[in-house]
Symmetry: C2
Subunit: 379 residues, 2 copies
């Protein structure tokens, strides 16, 4: 027995050195640590750094303090329960928290930002509760429209039944610039929000499709490297995504899932870039979509006048459009252009819901927008 | 037009500052850059670091070189096509590459290691090819056995048909210590390997279930913080996982998927911790499993003698066991104990496949083991 125990310990030690990201001789720091009162302590081991700043959308930027061993730490004031993002700025260079496995995903080019979950009561729609959970399926396909290999995710509600008499309604839910197709799940917790709203009978059971939103993925080359995005490329990003969605993703979804093909059972919504895509694809395809949601949107695809981007928009669409929901935060850099869109829609006598809210261009806003939007669908 | 264009540019600039992980004024470094000849250049911006080391399972550790701007870089010799892991050791502290979005996932406690894909020919089973692709579904449930909320992933093969006359065979595929349930997909590329082998008719279409493998997740508290794992806890980790798999995961899978419930259509395999779990659960439940795969395994659950851990093992099981496949790398710290297991199985006159291969305790070995194992199933 003693001999075998030694072998186990040897094996474990070897595994530890193989598996430990740090390969460290000393225990790693623990970060983030969320205290019962909502304060958060973050920690980073960086013995030779000159200055480390905690940068978050949940708290003001703050210098972290170094201890004698070279571990930096900072404790926030109590934070309102929510899910924030943060990075450490180490001598001017931002990195995610190496000890935190929860990340806001970034498409291809970097690790992105760490997620900071300050838990709250069950009344917050993104808190996981003991309710039935839907599932999330990742599909892979080669896009002829875009010319690449790509993926999309599909949420199916709890107890999804492909033999149910009534086909399910379906929401196409689009991410923002720099996100990947998992953004609405990993950062937005769309599946958790749906589970909760469905359990509370505030939303109908529905299928939610989250496609990769880049019609011209090369826009990211400029974006990530700090160059200006070419406006013709931005237009192509919108129109090719439109084409890929309509001719590739939707047919695949309708073949694979028990969803309705009636416009009254189809919605499209998105955030930022995806909000603009929802407006463009939705308002130009009212034969396919009856519900449109635009969250903190880029409202025009390349600086064109709204009349040119949305030529079909006039008072006549009110009878077909069951919902046009537009939300924008007062601190969002896109606030002014959303106000312009609002004024233009009013000038056309189009009916829409206008949600001017607190907040900026960030996930805490978008989780709340989705929570407000979902109960209005398919009624 | 000019006015609207300015607005777009303003909006984009705001988005850039919101979305950029660096919030950087200067363009980020590009890393990793894989050259056509297989050399790889990695880069890290760390202006005040004293020493940065590139640490990988694909190349010897190497000091990186700082340029005048504070960017560190290193270029490897040409690497054999494969998918490696690496970290940067910055003044003794290991971090993943902040510019690389591809990671080997680590359960809960840290970001883990960056993945480095040196592309190779289509003959490598993990290269994505233009073949039909299966899908991956993430399921969520509350485990009464373990007492937590957890997930599992299910691969369904291309053109999976729940109305097919013949039910699909099913493989339960288990991850290693520190991995999460996505490990076999994100680092192991199990879905890609299956797509390719199925397209080449080397493997039968099958369903593959990848559950979270911790029966006692608290073993990780000690493991991550460098403490020794308590052997009673290690045993509980194995037995409770066994119970959760048999009484929770398998019944859910058999309710949700069109899979056979015959033992001749069920396999269990895993790596490291998951290899030991496959041996324990498989060899003690031959009424349920006919195929067992043990990749680089921890072979005994808490230092117990093999007779005590696998009491049913004797010559009589040969007629029921269609395959017992044991693989171990000659450079693996677990090599010696796998040799002991081999000798014990021989002493019992049990038939098994013994694969002693090159390599250590790492994903390049496990992708190859899976590629060898899958074609032998369900024939």
């Amino acid at each position: 027995m003693a001999r075998r125990s030694r072998h186990i310990i040897t094996g474990m030690a070897l595994l530890a050195s193989a598996a430990s990201p740090a390969g460290a001789q000393q225990p790693p720091v623990r970060s983030p640590e969320v205290h019962a009162d909502g304060r958060v302590t973050v920690r980073l081991r960086a013995p030779n750094a000159q200055a480390v700043i905690f940068a978050s959308d949940g708290a003001p930027p703050a210098p972290m303090v170094r201890d004698s061993a070279g571990d930096w730490s900072y404790t926030t004031q109590p934070l309102t329960p929510d899910i924030y993002t943060y990075t450490f700025r180490v001598d001017g260079v931002s990195i995610p928290d190496p000890q935190n496995s929860e990340m806001k995903p970034v498409f291809r080019m970097s690790l992105g930002q760490s997620l900071l979950h300050v838990p709250g009561p069950d009344s917050l729609s993104w808190e996981v509760r003991d309710v039935p959970h839907g599932s999330i399926t990742e599909h892979f396909y080669a896009s002829d429209v875009v010319g690449d290999r790509r993926n999309y995710y599909v949420y199916t509600p709890p107890n999804y039944d492909p033999r149910r008499a009534e086909r399910y309604p379906v929401l196409y839910l689009l991410h923002g610039l720099s996100d990947d197709a998992s953004g609405w799940v990993r950062a937005g917790r769309a599946n958790v929000i749906l589970d909760n709203l469905i359990a509370d009978r505030r939303a109908l059971p529905m299928v939610v499709v989250m496609p990769l939103g880049y019609g011209a993925p090369q826009i990211l080359d400029g974006f990530y490297w700090g160059r200006q995005i070419d406006s013709a490329l931005w237009r192509q990003n919108t129109t090719r995504f439109n084409d890929a969605l309509l001719s590739e993703v939707i047919p695949q979804v309708e073949r694979r899932y028990h969803v309705t093909t009636a416009r009254s059972g189809r919605a499209i919504a998105g955030l930022s870039m995806g909000g603009g895509q929802s407006l463009y694809t939705g308002l130009n395809n009212l034969d396919r979509f009856a519900y449109i949601g635009a969250f903190s949107s880029v409202t025009t695809i390349n600086g064109q006048a709204y009349n040119a981007v949305y030529p079909a928009v006039n008072q006549g669409i009110n009878s077909r459009l069951k919902l046009l929901w537009i939300g924008i935060g007062r601190d969002d850099g896109l606030h002014a252009e959303n106000v312009r869109l609002r004024n233009w829609l009013r000038s056309k006598n189009v009916s829409f819901d206008w949600m001017e809210t607190a907040g900026g261009h960030a996930w805490p806003v978008w989780r709340r927008y989705l929570t407000d939007f979902l109960p209005r669908l398919f009624r």
